[in-house]
């Protein structure tokens, strides 16, 4: 088994890196794969909270790097999905506690045992970001359909290209189809026109995400959630499957489908 190492990054904070990491991890593990996710946000850790594993942390990433425990001891197994593990970040240290070569070594140790290794990058373009992308095979850039997030995504994509990590892939998170329809929000095409990289998912804005984050129950576990469905599809695309994009228009009943057919240029 040789793992695919996927780093989830964005540049700007608050666009949904951690939510994306948690949900992709859950969706991949739900598909029967062995998955470990690593929280790269040392000092501002969140992934443990979103996954609902906060109260089980004993050792963390920095303990492993500094030799206070074995890698196995820092891996928390998720009780819902037996093949999902988390390596949490340290909360009492900062990004400089780990170097890019530490990350490469640590990930190499895990490669043989897992199908996917997901790394949640911190916001910014400094040390934490460098640590997170150093071991990556694939970089997924998360953005929101707003100018500032897209601008930062562009910067990140440029840095990933400079590191010769291959073309980054794009997830557009928190898309609001109603606002796009009214012309108040960029649509996927506007974002892609600037960023010009492969799109692997558009996640609709969904209140369930906030609820699930607070509860530590990622939406990908909820078959009824539209955002959860979108994350599951992204996970399948990461595995190399061809999955059609979701129709994000919530009112896609028979009538609107018909009216769309009647005026094909209408949206």
């Amino acid at each position: 088994m040789a793992a695919t190492v996927v780093t989830i990054s964005s540049g700007k904070g608050g666009v949904g890196k951690t939510t994306t990491t948690a949900n992709l991890a859950v969706a991949l593990a739900n598909g029967g794969l062995k998955v470990v996710c690593i929280d790269g946000d040392i000092g501002l850790r969140n992934l443990d909270v979103v996954l609902g594993l906060e109260n089980r942390i004993v050792y963390d990433l920095v303990d492993v790097v500094e030799g206070r425990c074995r890698l196995r001891q820092a891996m928390i197994r998720d009780k819902r999905l037996p093949e999902l593990y988390l390596i949490p970040a340290a909360q009492t240290r900062d990004k400089s506690a780990v170097t890019p070569s530490d990350m490469v070594r640590l990930v190499d140790e895990l490669r043989g045992e897992f199908d996917f290794i997901l790394i949640d990058s911190p916001a910014g373009i400094e040390r934490g970001f460098r640590n997170a992308i150093a071991p990556a095979d694939v970089v997924v850039v998360v953005t929101n359909p707003e100018v500032s997030a897209v601008r930062d995504a562009d910067r990140i994509i440029g840095l990933v290209e400079a590191e010769e990590k291959g073309p980054a892939r794009l997830v557009i998170n928190r898309m609001n189809p109603g606002m796009v329809k009214r012309g108040d929000m960029m649509d996927a095409e506007d974002v892609l026109e600037l960023l010009a990289i492969e799109l692997i998912g558009v996640v609709p804005e969904d209140e369930n995400v906030v609820v699930s984050t607070n509860r530590g129950q990622p939406v990908a576990l909820d078959p009824k959630s539209r955002a959860g469905k979108a994350f599951t599809n992204i996970a399948r695309r990461l595995r190399g499957e061809q999955v059609p994009f979701l129709d994000l228009d919530e009112k896609s009943d028979l009538f609107s489908k018909l009216s769309r057919m009647l005026r094909p240029g209408g949206d």
């Binding site: 500094e66 030799g67 400089s96 506690a97 170097t99 890019p100 070569s101 530490d102 070594r105 373009i125 601008r151 930062d152 562009d154 910067r155 994509i157 440029g158 840095l159 290209e161 400079a162 600037l194 010009a196």
Partner: protein, 222 residues
């Protein structure tokens, strides 16, 4: 106690040479030295020369942590012992003083007669900057947040949406042209213009200074 701790400034920060003696004592001496001049060492990048000493991961890792607690960043360990070098590498520390990084954007020497020009055959994303004394040609887009500063003219075979400064050394004859010209800001010599809001797809345009004013014209090959 005459434990020798020598400190000198090098290009990459400070080089500290530790003399002979028991590791614990030498380490104490170093830390005492740092404590005395805490403000000088604050935020310093330090390379440590440890001579023939054989150090294990706990020794080096321990010292790195103690230094980091004092705001000193240990980035390299220089040693004559392969074992110690290996330990340093395991901890992700350099074992040589750094080699200068190659420039990211190298001027391309095309060896053609004429005026000096650099050709950039890629999209310039946010955060990238090209500065060149001659002309600059880009095959690709120039995204918002990217910047081109040219002594001569700038030609963009793509969308120009970043900041562009042609004739940066005062050449008013410099021009800017692009397939789609919507720069965040455009400067020619000492003149500055911003793109007016416009709708619809634009045509290739060329911008020059006419009578002290920046003027954009649609490119029409007659």
């Amino acid at each position: 106690m005459t434990l020798s701790v020598q400190i000198k400034g090098i290009k990459d920060g400070l080089l500290i040479t530790l003399g002979e003696g028991d590791w614990g004592e030498v380490q104490e001496a170093l830390l005492a030295h740092i404590a005395e001049r805490a403000s000088f060492f604050q935020g310093a990048r330090v390379a440590l020369e440890v001579g023939n000493r054989i150090l294990n991961a706990a020794d080096l890792g321990g010292l790195r942590d103690k230094l980091s607690d004092r705001g000193v960043i240990l980035w390299a360990v220089l040693s004559n012992s392969p074992k110690t070098e290996n330990t340093a590498q395991v901890l992700g520390l350099a074992t040589r003083l750094s080699i200068p990084r190659p420039e990211r954007v190298k001027p391309v020497d095309t060896n053609l007669p004429g005026e000096p020009t650099v050709l950039v055959a890629r999209t310039l994303r946010s955060g990238f900057r090209i500065a060149y004394a001659g002309h600059v040609t880009v095959i690709g887009d120039v995204n918002p947040g990217a910047e081109i500063v040219a002594g001569g003219s700038v030609v963009v075979w793509g969308k120009l949406r970043g900041v562009v400064h042609a004739g940066a050394e005062g050449d008013e004859k410099a021009v800017v042209c692009a397939l789609e010209l919507v720069p965040t800001q455009l400067r020619i010599a000492g003149h500055i213009a911003v793109t007016p809001q416009r709708k619809g797809k634009s045509n290739p345009e060329i911008v020059r200074v006419v009578n002290g004013q920046i003027v954009a014209e649609t490119w029409n090959q007659k």
